[in-house]
């Protein structure tokens, strides 16, 4: 009476539905040569997990070292290489690709009712460029490491530090082209391949965010590529633009670098905001409040984000008037972010709210992003930024946004779309516990850093005066808790692949075209091209309540 016997009597066609995981081959080369956007999304997921863990180990070593004021665990040179490695891998090889290349790749074509992205082969090329760059970066680390910090300021990077900075720059350069191609692909896909009836103002907000992100990717990343190339050329041949001995200005590097890197932080947060819009609406069973405002706020952030780079340079003796302009614009760029937060909160009003794991992450995002964003105002304030610049206040600020914001949103999105991606359900209770653990661990790690920063604790310090120790201990303790919060999902996601309950097509009862197909979807996403006839997020909290009660 075993199930095996029963199964063997089932006609072949019904045995296992064809999904993108099986259709198209199950060999390694069918994956490595795939042009299916869903498989490419998964390839990216595996890659970024690897880079994330290397960078996380570096962070663990850093926090361990900082438990004591003396630099007694690793040498100064090793410490400097560790924080450089952490920054480079986290920024370019984890955060920037995370939501766009994993969730964006997987979800965008389905969300618009298309069979794939506009240029599937370019999509695969992007993944290879990304990893080629990653390998170059890892190579730089293995042969000795780079100690310039992820910001590569000249003339230290171009004239004083070791030559590995060239291979590292090359790695980021190559990976950058992967990013550019991904952005290009998304822009054309969203412009040209929407299903009939899916007008711009009917698109889910995730698409508005990813579209804005892609515009930034496409316009800002080339400037980074050029800047790093110029720095590397100066390193190799000593003939550059940044050498004061030739009358060059090292600060020019900073202008060029931040012209990219400020928009880059919006590349890193906008997709997270897009995910949150999807999650809040689904788990509050409510239409988003202020759809147009939220949609256009993504566009506003993308535009304004290009105009504020000088706020990283208030203490470089940039002109006072430039400082005024950058400070003013930096305050302004907070406005569209505020708009999103207010609208998400208002969406909860008179909703029907449940607290599954994705919602916990979405709510966590709002809380942590608000803190991160408000502390950004401290840094936009000229006189206060002079004091806070290059201290732990900055470190805390950007970790609140990047980790408390982006990583949280990524986790939320990953849990939300996991059933669609894998066809399995993750264990819900564990998911909620992991979310809470990360929230507690995160705040304990990074909140003390705000206090330390105002006290004057500089960043990138291997050893420090004793009075800061208490804060470093709290921070390191928090980091150990945070680590648990990130390891747990890795374990249970892996577990779910084999033992998780099989997921229905729409486990969350969500609106959106991606839920109109099976979990996991077939290779071509839809049997027939869907037609869109209404607004997104057509949820009804009252209907939901009726279902619950009766």
């Amino acid at each position: 009476m075993s199930t095996m016997t029963v199964e063997s009597f089932r006609p072949v066609a019904q045995r296992k539905p064809k999904t993108y995981l099986t259709e198209g081959g199950r060999t390694l080369s069918s994956w490595l040569l795939t042009t299916d956007h869903k498989r490419i999304g998964i390839l990216y997921l595996y890659s970024i997990i690897v880079y994330f863990f290397i960078a996380a180990v570096a962070a663990a070593l850093i926090r361990l070292e900082l438990l004591t004021p003396q630099g007694d665990m690793v040498t100064s040179e090793t410490y400097n290489k560790l924080f450089t490695l952490h920054g480079v891998l986290m920024v370019w090889f984890f955060l920037i690709p995370s939501i766009p290349a994993v969730l964006g790749n997987f979800v965008i074509p389905m969300m618009i009712g298309a069979r794939d992205v506009a240029f599937p082969k370019l999509n695969l090329l992007s993944w290879y460029l990304f990893n080629a760059g990653g390998l170059l970066a890892l190579y730089s680390i293995i042969v000795g490491g780079v100690d310039t910090g992820w910001t590569f300021y000249t003339p230290y990077s171009s004239s004083f530090s070791n030559w590995h900075v060239v291979t590292m720059a090359a790695g980021i350069f190559v990976a950058g082209f992967g990013t550019i191609l991904t952005g290009l692909n998304f822009i054309i896909t969203i412009h040209r391949m929407r299903a009939p009836g899916l007008r711009w103002h009917r698109m889910p907000l995730f698409l508005w965010s990813l579209y804005s992100t892609s515009v930034i990717m496409v316009l800002a990343t080339p400037v980074l590529a050029m800047t790093l190339a110029l720095m590397a050329l100066e390193r190799i041949w000593g003939l550059g633009l940044f050498d004061p001995k030739l009358g060059g200005d090292p600060v020019l590097f900073q202008h060029l670098f931040w012209f990219y890197s400020h928009p880059a932080v919006y590349i890193m947060i906008l997709p997270g905001m897009g995910v949150v819009s999807e999650l809040i609406t689904c788990f509050a069973r409510k239409q988003i409040f202020g759809y147009h405002y939220v949609a256009y706020s993504s566009v506003a952030i993308a535009i304004l984000g290009f105009l504020v780079w000088g706020h990283h340079m208030f203490v470089t003796s940039q002109s006072v008037y430039a400082g005024f302009a950058f400070s003013f614009l930096s305050f302004m760029v907070a406005v569209p972010s505020g708009v999103k937060v207010f609208n998400w909160t208002m969406t909860l009003f008179r909703g029907s709210i449940s607290f599954q794991t994705p919602m916990l992450y979405a709510l966590g995002f709002i809380g942590l992003f608000v803190v991160g964003g408000l502390t950004g105002l401290f840094l936009a304030s000229l006189a206060v930024d002079v004091h806070l610049s290059d201290t732990y206040f900055i470190v805390a600020h950007f970790h609140y946004i990047m980790v408390g914001g982006m990583v949280t949103a990524f986790m939320g999105g990953l849990h939300y779309w996991w059933p669609k991606i894998s066809g399995r359900l993750y264990p819900e209770r564990l998911g909620q516990i992991a979310a809470l653990i990360t929230y507690i661990g995160f705040n304990l790690t990074f909140f003390p850093q705000f206090v330390m920063g105002y006290l004057g604790m500089p960043r990138r310090y291997h050893a420090y005066p004793g009075e800061f120790q208490i804060y470093h201990i709290l921070s390191s303790a928090g980091a150990s808790i945070l680590a648990v919060g990130y390891v747990l999902p890795l374990l249970y996601f892996l577990w779910s692949l084999k033992y998780g309950k099989r997921a229905p097509a729409n486990p969350w009862n969500a609106t959106g075209l991606e839920w109109q197909t099976t979990s996991p979807p077939p290779k071509h996403n839809f049997e027939e091209t869907p037609v869109v006839t209404g607004e997104p997020y057509q949820y009804s909290p009252e209907a939901e309540e009726e279902m619950v009660h009766g």
Binding site: P120, M193, L219, V223, M226, L256
Partner: protein, 213 residues
Amino acid sequence: MAEARTALAEQFEDMPQQLEASRQGMWTFLATEVLFFGGMFMGYIIYRHIYPEAFGAASKHTIVLYGTINTAILLTSSLTMALAVHAAQESRQRALFRWLLVTVFLGLCFLGVKGLEYHEDLDEHLWPGAHFRADLPPQSQIFWFLYWSMTGLHAIHVTVGVVVLSMMARMAARGLFSTHYHTPIEISGLYWHFVDIVWIYLYPLLYLINRYS
């Protein structure tokens, strides 16, 4: 038409969608290229503003004859490229093939002239560094660094263009393009015109400052 059907990639609904997507894709790519070159143009603008005399002195040593010849070559090649696109739109196979070949040839001429020019520049000790000619102020090295990197990057783009257009010519010879389907020719044309426009900016900025003062 079997050719037209097989030319439609499976992610697209129909040929017009594919054409539009390809065109938009190339325009977006060209926008990234503008920003890519933009970093160096920015550096040029800033340093020229701070060191006008050093830049003027440095620019006098560029070989304006070669620069002008190359400008003429590239402008002509843009014309021949446009003629190639036109021929493709009208399904004139032989004309398409010939115009593509001429464009490739002109591109190679450009690179040849550039090669000669670089050779002479090196003979004149215009490579920044320890052996840079002593009769120019140190800030002239910044000009010359920009010269080598901007024209070098441009030359790489010309080379890529030459390779792509050669491939287009080969495909044209096999009769793969027609009024119905000539997207690759169009978007290669866009790329080629872009490469020409970059040169049109480089030429006066590098060769013509202070030349006649």
